[in-house]
Amino acid sequence: MGPKKEKTVLNLPMQVISPADVSRLSRELESLEDFMEQSAIRTKGVGLKLPASSKLLDELAASNSFNFLHIQDRKLAKEFLGTLTKTAPVIHLSFASDPSAAFLSKLVSRLRDIIHPQLLVRTGLEPSIAAGCILRTNNRQFDFSLRTTLYAKSDLLMKALKLNSEGQT
């Protein structure tokens, strides 16, 4: 299978969630590139062992049909990751507990459908919110937590308490 000549829109794997993942992929791709350059100047006939690639890199290659032995594919992937680092929208999500990878994968998949196909997500912990999440963009914060919902609906609680007390009297 030869290298792809035209790769304008590449797929971002669901396992690549945060800007840290993109950076990690870039570093790994850089290492691979270094290895390939070094192997090119070595004596022919000497056996070479490719460095073990991470699952993320494998996913990136699989989702875009890349063969990283080809310099063209490596170049495209590198450019893609560079573009992602510079232009991909990033949001920050805070949860009450540490989210699992499966949960994040599902969430990011849906968010990329809803908001942007190359959306990157940073996660954080905010135990006081109990449930839900707090979403922060560059300029705004969207609080979808149970804590805020409960406080926002304190009037309903008070009405219910009053009704209950009046019923008892």
Partner: protein, 205 residues
């Protein structure tokens, strides 16, 4: 001229001489009358001494003393009676005057006391009215303050109650809800705010 002067001098000497002679005769006559009156006085004095001798004088003295004593006694009695009468009248007069004066003073005093009493009553009434007005004002103010404080405490209580219940709920169920169960809620919330999120992302920082 000399003749006339001579005549004048002769006439003058004549008159002066005549006057001196007349004066001497007059003085002589007065001397004689004086001697005669001295003799009468002496005779009268002798007679008086003979009539009003010491015995007669003593008798007159006794009579006079007795009469004088009698008059003095009578007058003393009259004087005593008059004095008693005067004293009695004076007492009555003084009594009447003092009584009248005292009654007048007592009436004035009583009037003063009545005036002072009326003033005191008026003052007390005014004070009572002012105190009553102040009490009503304070009562109204107090009721208002109590209502405000009650409302404030009630609001604070409601606020604290909901805060306590919310805190309890968050503490009680905070770690009981699985994130996977929250996925749909989170996605629906994001979907609701999708437009605002996209606008903020596209707007950049």
């Amino acid at each position: 001229m000399n003749t006339w002067w001579f005549l004048v001098i002769v006439v003058s000497v004549t008159f002066i001489g005549g006057g001196m002679i007349w004066a001497m005769a007059k003085i002589n006559r007065l001397q004689i009358q004086k001697d005669h009156s001295t003799d009468i006085d002496s005779t009268t004095r002798t007679d008086i001494e003979r009539i009003f001798n010491d015995e007669f004088r003593s008798e007159l003295k006794n009579r006079g003393r007795l009469h004088f004593e009698k008059i003095i006694g009578e007058n003393a009695m009259f004087l005593q009676q008059d004095l008693r009468l005067t004293t009695s009248q004076l007492n009555d007069y003084m009594k009447q005057e003092i009584t009248a004066k005292l009654q007048e003073e007592f009436a004035k005093y009583e009037q003063s006391i009545m005036d002072a009493k009326q003033l005191a009553i008026d003052s007390i009434n005014k004070t009572n009215a002012a105190v009553e007005e102040q009490r009503k004002s304070l009562s109204t103010e107090l009721q208002k303050e109590i209502a405000n404080e009650k409302s404030r405490i009630l609001k604070e209580f409601e606020k604290n109650t909901t805060a306590i219940i919310n805190h309890y709920l968050l503490e009680a169920i905070g770690d009981q809800i699985d994130l996977n169960d929250q996925l749909e809620y989170i996605l629906s919330s994001i979907e609701t705010n999708k437009q605002a999120i996209i606008e903020d992302i596209q707007g950049g920082s």
